[in-house]
Subunit: 413 residues, 2 copies
């Protein structure tokens, strides 16, 4: 895309009330715009990053048998009263409103209840199980404070998968697969090295749940990490008993700040009991369905990536989620060579943003560093004298002079 | 996909309170599920249809220069007070709620206000115009009654494009392009023959707005159609003056029921005036930006298609938006041939749903007719005796016996 066709421009300053680094850089780069604390619009560049993250998540969920659907934000009171989660005293993040009939409605902050209710139409026999469904859908949470940019929103996208299994064995087999799929997702988006499976509080069905915590000073959680074993424990469950239970030793644990980028949770029969979601087994016996839930916030992943991958000039996108891979920049007097390179890249389906604006080289370089595409292709009078372009890696800052005729050999899709 | 991997099943009955044909068929076929009147979950088959419609819309919006973004549902009071549209007396479909701070928030029923506000960051010169942006995003409207299934929702997806132009000429040029793009969309989703540009009430800037009305008894609008000229007038603006203004004659107009599947509207400077969204022209003069808005409800399109394309057995999907193109059905004793055909189709990237369930032929045929995929590939002991399968067109009911070795010649992507 030509940069002039993008309506956004790099802004010199982020809003003064914006304290988080991720939102400051993303707003200045034209990726997002703040509507209110915790609610951000995704502008074209930001939406491309978000869609790339969503696509990686979708591929990994499909690979473990997940089937995609899309539920509603609007929730009715009756459904949530069955689990005692309608009351503002039990759940303090509801946004609530009323229909014209004066009936209460809420905006879904999660979807266990309506999904369990839905499954009563479809699950009746052991032959129907397992059922593994997910959505990438907007959640609403009326947070008291929302100061972490897109890392904690009042309105945000979430991938939530729910599993419905016939037995603890079937559940645990899938739970293990989901855990591995999550690790692959964080690896693919570029957070693999810094993301650790973290033991957190479970419930009556399972002693622990598992969080995926990414190390960053911007995180709101404190975890205790054994780097060698690649296991962490959330502060909220840390005790002598837990340490010994997990085969860890206190001396090996490092206290670090982290952000929870995902979590997986064994729900047992809590929801199926409340909704009488049962199945008939081979012997004709009625048994409750065993459930699990598995969440990732794509916006939080995006924010976390920015918190980690930036320098004083701007963002440094990992290739897999960058809005475009290449930033083609013309500063030559005659734009003809750039135009021709741009057309060739488009024809070959390369993902490229082309800065042909009438701006100084200094402005273009500064904008390009802030936007943070992985590779910059510079066309200047100097490079053209050698029939070349300069390829620069945003992360390593390494540059290479490459003959224009050889360019495609040096580029990757 | 194997039908057994889909958790949904064909239901014998739709909910008793569901009066619309589209919702009855879509619920029974496992495409959607009703949460409350006007709020439906999209199950895997339904989500595939919706995504196909979205993709067609997206392609046509990109083709006329639209750039995609995604705004928030949460709206703040201050922004909407600028146009006097916050008050429940001026806008009676708001869902409203409160932040913890007790500040008012609403759920967006449209997005002119926040988008005009956003553009103040990016539009300042004539060089910045035109700006053409769109989103495919969830709207909330607190409708008093919602009895038309997915054709009128309290929560529904909408594609809304907004244009920002420097002059009436630039605006009208784009408005014309958008009108043509809309006609292409309705043509591609299968509604072309029955969808007519309909003159409806305009505003202070433009005498008329344009609706795209699709003829169906399920529609909530009454329009007056000149079939020869392919032009209609909405009842709400019909008058002697309008008829003569449009060069129509009363005797040629047919009164028909229709559903508004899209509309386009010249907004003039109503919103740019309210937000002081101005640009500096070549002469250094400050001028207000001219705006337009362009909406289509993908769910309403889907509902309209079902209202029009069904018979007493079920839905008849147009190819372009069908969840899968082929329904492969095995009723042979030995499933080996079907399995092998399924694998071949998958390998060649055909879009196929495979019914290998342990059900009677009668159940499979009835389910297949209800789900309504365009082409059925039947594998039975009878067809296998002739090394063949039976290909049946859901719409024409025509069948053909085709040698398995020749199958791929008869199939289309």
């Amino acid at each position: 895309m030509k940069q002039s066709e993008l309506f956004t421009k790099v802004l010199r300053e982020a809003p003064k009330d914006e304290v988080s680094v991720n939102a400051q850089l993303l707003i200045r780069g034209g990726f997002i715009h703040k509507v209110m604390a915790g609610a951000y619009e995704y502008l074209p560049l930001g939406l491309r990053v978000l869609n790339n993250i969503n696509q990686i998540i979708r591929e990994e969920m499909n690979a473990i048998g997940g089937v995609e659907l899309s539920m509603t934000a609007l929730q009715d009171k009756q459904t949530w009263e069955k689990t005692n989660r309608w009351s503002d005293e039990t759940v303090d993040v509801w946004f609530k409103s009323k229909l014209k009939s004066n009936a209460d409605v809420g905006l879904g902050f999660t979807h266990e209840e309506p999904l369990t209710s839905l499954m009563k139409n479809y699950i009746s026999s052991y032959r129907d199980l397992p059922v593994l469904v997910y959505q990438i859908q907007t959640k609403f949470r009326n947070e008291l404070r929302a100061k972490s940019g897109i890392m904690r929103g009042r309105e945000f996208l979430m991938k939530d998968l729910y599993s419905f299994c016939r037995s603890k064995e079937q559940h645990e087999e899938f739970y293990g697969k989901a855990k591995n799929a999550y690790l692959r997702i964080f690896e693919r988006v570029g957070l693999g090295d810094r993301t650790f499976v973290t033991f957190a509080s479970g419930g009556s069905f399972s002693k622990y749940s598992h969080e995926f915590q990414t190390l960053t000073e911007a995180g709101e959680d404190m975890i205790y990490l054994d780097r060698k074993k690649k296991i962490a424990v959330n502060k909220e469950v840390l005790s002598e008993e837990v340490i010994s239970d997990l085969g860890l030793s206190k001396g090996d644990l490092e206290e670090v700040k982290a952000v929870e980028v995902g979590n997986i949770f064994s729900l047992g029969t809590r929801f199926s009991d409340a909704f009488n979601l049962n199945y008939i087994d081979e012997k004709g016996q009625s048994c409750p369905v065993i459930m699990g839930s598995y969440g990732i916030g794509p916006g939080r992943v995006m924010g976390t990536v920015v918190e980690i991958f930036h320098d004083d000039k701007g963002i440094i996108w990992p290739e897999a989620i960058a809005p475009y891979k290449y930033h083609l920049i013309n500063i030559a007097k005659d734009p003809q060579s750039s135009e021709s390179i741009y057309q060739t890249l488009l024809d070959k389906n390369y993902s490229v943003l082309y800065d042909q604006r009438d701006e100084t080289a200094g402005v273009k370089f500064a904008d390009s560093d802030l936007i943070g595409l992985p590779l910059r292709i510079l066309v200047s009078d100097k490079t053209l004298k050698e029939d070349s372009v300069e390829l620069k890696n945003r992360q390593t800052q390494e540059t290479q002079l490459i003959k224009i005729k050889d360019l495609s050999k040096h580029l990757k899709k």
